[in-house]
């Protein structure tokens, strides 16, 4: 009975929230053709799909981890897909380092705390992805390189000041910036695609805008993130205006560690590539002409992501993900071999329970 009640209540709450968002957005629709806060674009811009010919790449990694008694074992596989298009038709697909890659087992530092474990795992993954991206750019000279996830490390990846994994973090940070340089040097545009983003930057900017034109109240915007709002605001084939990654670089935990050349120029927009999927957050490093770059980037992202009406994500990243994906069984081989070699002492106590 309790469960039924809970389900009922939860459904109502969610429905109500969605309904609120929808109504709120309805009222915001007139804003779409209004000049946006960036002063050069409207709130929404129409994406113009263009034929693309050339190379583009995408990198993704898969990982699984398993806890040993006093350290963690991670299995990671990072694969880059390089597509050669001719008039928007895929002609050739290549892979780096190879289409079928054996995953790499990594033993994390021992003695990590719980938060450090996750960060360490994430840093290992990020390091592999960024390095792979650099290698791809230097080898294949793609015009675009897609990154799964943000164009910069996330806040939760940053360890505490006193953490023993700070070195890894800094190394990753440097690697990211090296990536930006390599990309710039090789005229490769880095594009990050984030699905299921929980960002609020657009909402922040909208709130500021609405202070002068209160079409809706601030409460109406509460409880909604950018994706939720824009899901109703954007139509398929539309994007938002470009905006900066953060309003205050100096306060941003990651960007403040970046060189200014990069921190200042990270731009973001959302685009809707499918009728029935949430908008996709796209991040890139602008070289100056933000609108033009955004148009170009949104065009290519839209072309690659508008294939399925219920799922919008660039095909190249889907492919890279497929190649890189790991499952739990993959790590078992390594784990089992270790247990065989070292005996039960490596196992977590909970895994040694005799009765299940």
């Amino acid at each position: 009975m309790y469960l039924d009640d809970f389900i009922e209540n939860a459904s109502q709450t969610i429905n109500a929230t969605h309904s609120l968002h929808e109504k709120t957005t309805q009222r915001l629709l007139p804003l779409k053709q209004q000049l946006s806060p960036n002063g050069i674009e409207n709130f929404t811009e129409t994406i113009v799909p263009k034929e693309f010919s050339g190379k583009l790449a995408g990198v993704d990694s898969g990982f699984v981890s398993k806890k040993l008694s006093f350290m963690d074992l991670v299995l990671v596989r990072t694969v880059g897909a390089i597509f050669s298009f001719n008039s928007s038709t895929l002609e050739k697909a290549e892979y780096y380092p190879s289409a079928v890659l054996l995953p790499e087992p990594v033993l994390l530092k021992n003695g990590l705390e719980k938060d450090e474990e996750q960060q360490s795992i994430s840093l290992v993954r990020l390091e592999r992805e960024v390095q792979t991206s650099i290698n791809i750019i230097e080898k294949y000279y793609p015009k675009y390189l897609f990154i799964d996830g943000s164009i910069l490390p996330q806040y939760q990846d940053k360890p505490r000041k006193e953490s023993v994994i700070n070195d890894e973090y800094n190394s990753v940070l440097d690697l990211f910036q090296k990536l930006y340089e390599v990309a710039e040097k090789n005229s490769c545009t880095l594009i990050s695609c984030i699905e299921d983003s929980r960002g609020n930057r657009f909402k922040q900017m909208l709130s500021l805008y609405l202070e002068t034109k209160p079409i809706v109240t601030e409460q109406a915007l509460n409880g909604a993130n950018d994706s939720a709002l824009l899901d109703y605001f954007l139509l398929k084939g539309e994007r938002t205006f470009c905006f900066s990654y953060t309003g205050n670089i100096g306060m941003h935990p990651i960007l403040k560690d970046y060189k200014e050349k990069w921190s200042k120029n990270i731009r973001v927009f959302y685009l809707k590539a499918s009728d029935f999927d949430k908008p996709l957050r796209v991040e890139f490093i602008s070289k100056g002409d933000t609108k033009k770059e955004a148009d170009e980037i949104s065009s290519i992202v839209y072309s690659l992501s508008s294939i399925h009406k219920e799922y919008s994500y660039p095909s190249i990243l889907i492919e890279a993900d497929l190649r890189a994906r790991l499952n739990e069984q993959d790590i078992s081989i390594v784990y089992d071999k270790l247990v065989d070699k070292l005996g039960p002492k490596v196992r977590m106590r909970r895994n040694a329970r005799p009765f299940k």
Binding site: A81, A93, L304, I307, H308, S315, I318, E319
Partner: protein, 502 residues
């Protein structure tokens, strides 16, 4: 250096001694193809009995439908295609012997297309064997050894139109082409539809077998009353009472005795002359029975032809039953000659022979009253014991389900062409251990001219394409359109003649 076809993968089911799966790396694998791999036990030969292609991009039908053409434009879908071949190990052979598979190969073992010589060796094909066609997917002729093919009897099973008459014609060509050195047997064919009479017609456009073929119109056949086995006549005259039969047999016995004394053979009239002297009621009943016999126009003083004339090494004798309407007459002819031939063979009076029976299910049905299956007991006996005396059966049927199970089971080699009737397929599965559900599904998908051979003749069920025949085709093979056109033109001619006459 042989090209690797694929690599054995590990699955829940294998690799095991009875199943291996491998991913096809290069080239093509086909269902029914032979593959081999070398491992610790020797060279394993396996047959691919299933092929599955997978592709992650096409796993969800809704996505495939939604994305449509864009899928291949945007994704390297082709790169995700994998061909998994499921194969059944057939045996392992070394230089010395061939044994069954008892130990699995390792995952990762390299799989190759089976070598032609290995296939020949494994299947025990014979250079001097009967060229029935080509093994599918391999450059190897299906040449089973004559003895292995026929000695323990052969059944050719297929639905109508699947090409079994064509296959039989190829078999007959091979038998007729054998030389003395290779060993020639006599072939006697009971041809229900006149499909093999073409062998007896001289031809310049095809291989001429007419000098080795004798065609006998069953309407002209005469059987010696004195030589008809009593049990056959007994079954035939089922309308007579035991007393009447006894009297009739007594007369026949007496006439036979007189015949041996020098009076010479007797016919129905001779029996009538003796019946005249019996008590009237009895005489009447017997006369009715004799009338029935006479109406068949089948009985005479001597056999014509006799078995010594029809069983000659290297000769095909086609007994054309096509002109007969009476099923009883057909039954009697088949029963009589089978009995006589087998008896003569036991006494070594005739050469080794093969008895070919079309529509075998009519002559050896599973469950029919004795008087409607006169030949059944003789043919069953031949099926059971014929191999000791080199008297072979070649049974041809499109309704295996209706064929006597025991006899079919005694046919140690089967050539199966297309069969789709599930009852027939089940029946075959039950009577042949070489047919499992995979083979069964392959049988129903065979095209015309493709066949599976299994049993004594080959050490593993094998698919092959029946070779092209060199003999002239049967003139009975006419299409409906041609037949209709001919009828119309004949009618027109007839009408013209009538008009001219009038």
């Amino acid at each position: 250096m042989k090209e690797v076809l694929g690599t054995v993968v590990s699955t829940i089911e294998g690799p095991s001694p009875s199943r291996i799966d491998f991913v096809v790396n290069s080239g093509k694998a086909h269902k029914g193809m032979f593959v081999e791999l070398v491992y610790s036990e020797g060279t394993m030969i396996a047959m691919v009995d299933e092929l599955i292609k997978t592709n992650r991009y096409f796993e969800r039908p809704d996505s495939v439908k939604t994305i449509g053409e864009e899928l291949e434009k945007n994704f390297p879908a082709a790169d995700w295609e994998f061909l998994i071949a499921k194969a059944k190990p057939l045996g392992v052979f070394t230089d010395k012997l061939i044994q069954r598979s008892t130990f699995p190969p390792s995952p990762g073992a390299k799989v190759y297309v089976a070598d032609n010589e290995h296939i020949k060796k494994f299947l025990k094909l014979d250079e001097d064997g009967m060229n029935l066609g080509q093994i599918q997917f391999h450059d190897v002729l299906m040449k089973p050894n004559l003895s292995k093919l026929l000695q323990k009897h052969l059944a050719i099973l297929a639905m109508s139109g699947a090409g079994k008459s064509y296959c039989v014609s190829v078999l007959l060509e091979e038998l007729l082409s054998r030389t003395d050195e290779q060993g020639q047997i006599a072939v006697i064919a009971f041809d229900t539809h006149g499909e093999y009479t073409c062998f007896g017609e001289p031809t310049k456009t095809h291989t001429d077998f007419s000098s080795k073929t004798r065609v006998i119109d069953a309407r002209n056949i005469k059987l010696s009353l004195a030589k008809i086995p009593r049990y056959l006549l007994d079954k035939f005259l089922s309308n007579l009472t035991p007393v009447q039969k006894r009297e009739l047999f007594r007369i026949i016995s007496k006439l036979s005795q007189e015949m041996k004394s020098g009076v010479g053979p007797f016919n129905i009239n001779s029996i009538r002359a003796e019946v005249k002297e019996l008590e009237p009621k009895l005489a009447t009943a017997l006369n009715f029975a004799l009338d029935d016999l006479e109406r068949l126009n089948l009985f005479g003083k001597i056999d014509d032809p006799s078995i010594l004339e029809i069983a000659k090494p290297g000769q095909l004798t086609v007994i054309d039953l096509n002109g007969l309407i009476s099923q009883k007459k057909k039954q009697l002819i088949v029963a009589y000659f089978s009995e006589k031939l087998f008896s003569a063979r036991r006494q070594m009076r005739v050469p080794p022979f093969a008895l070919l029976i079309e529509e075998a299910h009519n002559f050896i049905p599973e469950s029919t009253a004795a008087e409607h299956a006169l030949a059944k007991s003789t043919l069953r006996t031949i099926a059971r014991e014929g191999r000791k005396f080199c008297a072979s059966l070649i049974l041809i049927s499109q309704r295996p389900k209706r064929l006597d199970v025991t006899t079919l089971a005694n046919c140690n080699t089967n050539i199966i062409l297309r069969i789709t009737n599930p009852n027939d397929l089940d029946h075959i599965k039950q009577s042949s251990e070489g047919v499992d559900s995979n083979s069964s599904s392959m049988i129903s998908s065979l095209r015309v001219g493709e066949a599976m051979i299994m049993g004594e003749a080959v050490s593993a069920p094998t698919f092959f394409k029946v070779r092209e025949r060199t003999s002239a085709p049967s003139k009975h093979e006419t299409t409906l359109e041609e037949s209709a056109k001919k009828f119309a033109s004949d009618k027109e001619k007839q009408d013209d003649e009538i008009d001219a006459f009038l």
